[in-house]
Amino acid sequence: MTTQAPPRPAATARDSGKTKLGETMLDVRNLKMYFPVHQGIVIQKKVADVKAVDGISFYIKKGETLGLVGESGCGKTTTGRAVLQLHRPTAGEVLFEGTDLTKLNSKQMRTLRRQMQIIFQDPYGSLNPRMTAGGIIGEPLVIHGLAASKKDRLDRVAELLTTVGLAPYMRDRYPHEFSGGQRQRIGIARALAVDPGFIVCDEPVSALDVSIQAQVINLLESLQEKFQLTYLFIAHDLAVVRHISDRICVMYLGKTMELASREEIYENPLHPYTKALLSAVPIPDPIADAKRERIILTGDVPSPLRPPVGCVFHTRCPIAIDTCKQVIPEWREASPGHFVACHRV
């Protein structure tokens, strides 16, 4: 574990990571995140668990982007937070460069947080309205002791602002003086301040206008190339996820349905849920859109409090058989690198 504290110059921090490009950086094994439901006012009794994430496994290699897609309530955001130990997982392992994060105490975790950061969905709620942009971006530098002097810190803030496409003079402005896209850039600069190797991007463009989304996506991509960043990219927009990800993981009701490379998922989807998701995405072209085969799922996502027995998707699945209602499908490798959980594949 890297616990040495002396401030390192910005450029070398990443190179000192143990993992080389292309090697596994993050390995998540059988991750479970349950939230207890209590009943009673004075004497509280646990009555059930919301199984937000229920036994999922995946890995991310250094320098790549893993896209995590699914509908609201499927557990994708919880997964991102559990990986960073913002929620302490109920069970499972999260190996980051070989260290199991679930075994660390909060002090050890804090040192490691320098290497893993998060960009939030809401550019309005995730910045403190009483701090200036410079204060927000400089705060992680203070907390982790990364700036030797005030001048050092201001220089670094100016550099970060430039990196994300803003101007250094903007550091004295408050969040309300920025547009949504600019605020998201401040959020990105804050995440970059500590030189992380791994960033969880939790729906970073969903709240932005269409014309601004592309700007932020391009920024994330060029930062990845420049700093060899590794992303866990959480989103519900499949077109955006396809654009930015190397591999894609589809979640439904706390479980992983399918995981494969970008090309495989879009050209050769195996799971009926993946197929339905893909066909539901509208395409901005009336002629091309009319030609597509469309699978419209009936019904709603069931409650994670009482997930269906057997395969969680069987209540909406167009090809479900009796086995699906009883037996939980196994998470298996259908072809090299292409994982799926379905009885009918």
Partner: protein, 335 residues
């Protein structure tokens, strides 16, 4: 029906201006727009936040809060009568009856303390003077129409017992209650998941075809529009900058902004691009619009004339208008 069958004009909006008088200045949210809608036609209003699309819709319903808002000028002819000249009583007879609205937020636009049945029968009793019994039967019928299973039982449920997609179906059922001529749907699927979006849009499309209801759908999602609309109006900074059939809007965009929007979204049906082509800059401050074309600071086609004069809508093809001095295909100024 591929395009509108009757071609009978339902709504005719002329030179409409809705401004907001705020402390930081006059916000010209809608500034001189003209558009028409025929019976049974589906019109899409596309634009980013702040482009004036929702304000346009609220103006048609006369729901602009005043102050600070004010309809400064214009006419909205609905079946030949000017909505803007009507008394409160007259407009109330139309609102929810002939023109109905579906809002974006299915979570907050239903009353949480009333049953679904009451929210449906309220409209029926008020506008159609139905008695309680008839209204209840009709309520169940409406819920079945929008695809709510087990409607007879669920009609007595409260909104919180419904999921997001189901609530949006209830909203549509309320909108349909009085057999309206026009439904204004303001971002009807934005708050919903993709698979639910597809369901709700199918319901709206199917109903509009069955009852020959005109739909005005407001959205920022270009994909949704493609599947639905007969015509598309693209708005930017309070102006309509392009209006065309859906086919032309996507296949043959004539305004740099429309072109930019289409290029900036990744598409599932096309090979992946290595980089997206964004529209640089951000939408303008409506209290302080630049002289000339409001899109000029972000436009890659701009010429000198754009800084001086705001282009009007010009005919560029069959039933296709665009407000741009430059022909985006040849990059030459229009004659």
């Amino acid at each position: 029906m591929t395009t509108n069958g009757t071609d009978k004009l339902l709504l005719d909006v002329q030179d409409l201006r809705t401004h907001f008088f705020t402390q930081s200045g006059v916000v010209k949210a809608v500034d001189g727009v003209n558009w028409q809608l025929a019976e049974g036609e589906t019109l899409a209003l596309v634009g980013e936040s702040g482009s004036g699309k929702s304000v346009s819709a609220l103006t048609v319903m006369r729901l602009i809060p005043s102050p600070p808002g004010k309809i400064v000028s214009g006419k909205i002819l609905f079946q030949g009568h000017d909505i803007l000249q009507m008394s409160q009583k007259e407009i109330r007879a139309i609102r929810g009856n002939k023109i109905a609205m579906v809002f974006q937020e299915p979570m907050t636009s239903l009353n949480p303390v009333l049953t679904i049945r009451r929210q449906l029968t309220e409209t029926l009793e008020l506008h159609l003077k139905m008695n309680k019994k008839a209204a209840k039967d009709r309520a169940v019928e409406l819920l079945l129409m929008v695809g709510i299973p087990d409607a007879a039982r669920r009609v007595d449920d409260y909104p919180h017992q419904f999921s997001g997609g189901m609530r949006q179906r209830v909203m549509i059922a309320i909108a349909l209650a009085c057999d309206p001529k026009l439904i204004i749907a303001d971002e009807p699927t934005t708050a919903l998941d993709v698979t639910i979006q597809a369901q709700v849009l199918e319901v709206i499309k199917d109903l509009s075809e069955r009852f020959n209801t005109a739909i005005m759908i407001i959205t920022h999602n270009l994909g949704i529009v493609a599947r639905f609309a007969h015509r598309v109006n693209v708005m930017y900074a309070g102006h309509i900058i392009e209006t065309a059939s859906a086919k032309d809007t996507y296949g043959n965009p004539a305004h740099p902004y429309t072109l930019g929007l289409l290029q900036s979204v990744p598409r599932l049906d096309e090979p992946r691009k290595s980089r997206l082509v964004p529209i640089e800059g951000s939408p303008p401050d409506l209290t302080n619009l630049p002289k000339g074309c409001p899109f000029r600071p972000r436009c890659t086609f701009a010429i000198d004339r754009c800084a001086e004069e705001n282009p009007p809508l010009m005919l560029v093809g069959e039933k296709h208008w665009a407000a741009c001095w430059v022909d985006v295909k040849t990059r030459r100024p229009r004659p």
